[in-house]
Symmetry: C2
């Protein structure tokens, strides 16, 4: 786990990791949230809606931003203040995703920083992009 302090955070600092979306994650996410929508459980339903098969929960993909912040950037001293995400392409169970954050703005006065976030699949398609506003609890 990284332990960046606020003074270590500079524009351009990056972190990245890769994760595979599994059926087990899909089941756990459904159990946690109660989101029983058939788009995420029923291939036939998803095909009727225009997808190649059942689609991973968008908010499951977004949930990896928790680890991006809490483990990688800034890591231990992380406090997420704000998250904005756009879902650009569907994600499917089995997809391998690369989650990346890059510091885009540092506000010394309020001790917060912004990072641009992207999630890219193994074909190189950007499936999610967004911004997180972070606090650093290094006191």
């Amino acid at each position: 786990m990284n332990r960046y302090r606020f003074e270590d955070i500079k524009v351009g600092l990056k972190a990245s990791f890769t994760v595979k979306i599994t059926e087990e994650m899909m089941n756990s996410f459904r159990n946690i949230t109660g989101d029983i929508n058939p788009l995420h459980t029923d291939d036939d339903f998803a095909v009727k809606k225009g997808f190649e098969g059942k689609v991973a929960y968008g908010m499951l993909t977004a949930s990896f931003l928790s680890a991006l912040a809490g483990v990688y950037l800034p890591g231990e001293n992380s406090l997420i203040r704000q998250v904005e995400v756009k879902f650009k392409k569907p994600v499917f169970p089995g997809d391998e995703l690369t989650v990346t954050g890059e510091v885009s703005d540092v506000n010394e006065e309020f001790k917060i920083f912004d990072m641009k976030v992207t999630v890219v699949n193994a074909s190189g398609d950007k499936v999610l992009r967004g911004t997180m506003q972070m606090g650093v609890l290094d006191a």
Copy 2:
């Protein structure tokens, strides 16, 4: 599960449900995401950082927006396009949260709508507020 069609979606339409944040949800969310940050597992660490005890994952609270959209509003025909959330107050395991969405804008031309979302704890504190931009797959 609701099955609103696009023509049913009107400004002011609301949906709401209540959920209790459990230790089991915390463990499942950590297993899914790999976010092992001690703020969410270690009371002493969280107290040192200024909280009354270990804090629920912000992105866990946000993950209930998946059910808000996929089960309630619009329900079965849901497709989340964009999510923006601000974490206003900490959530703790054991907290009972009320998740509410209210349609704030309908774009007939592009068949999308916006909803304002709030998550409120049992003390009436708004712990999360934000906006979701939704598509309706009712074709």
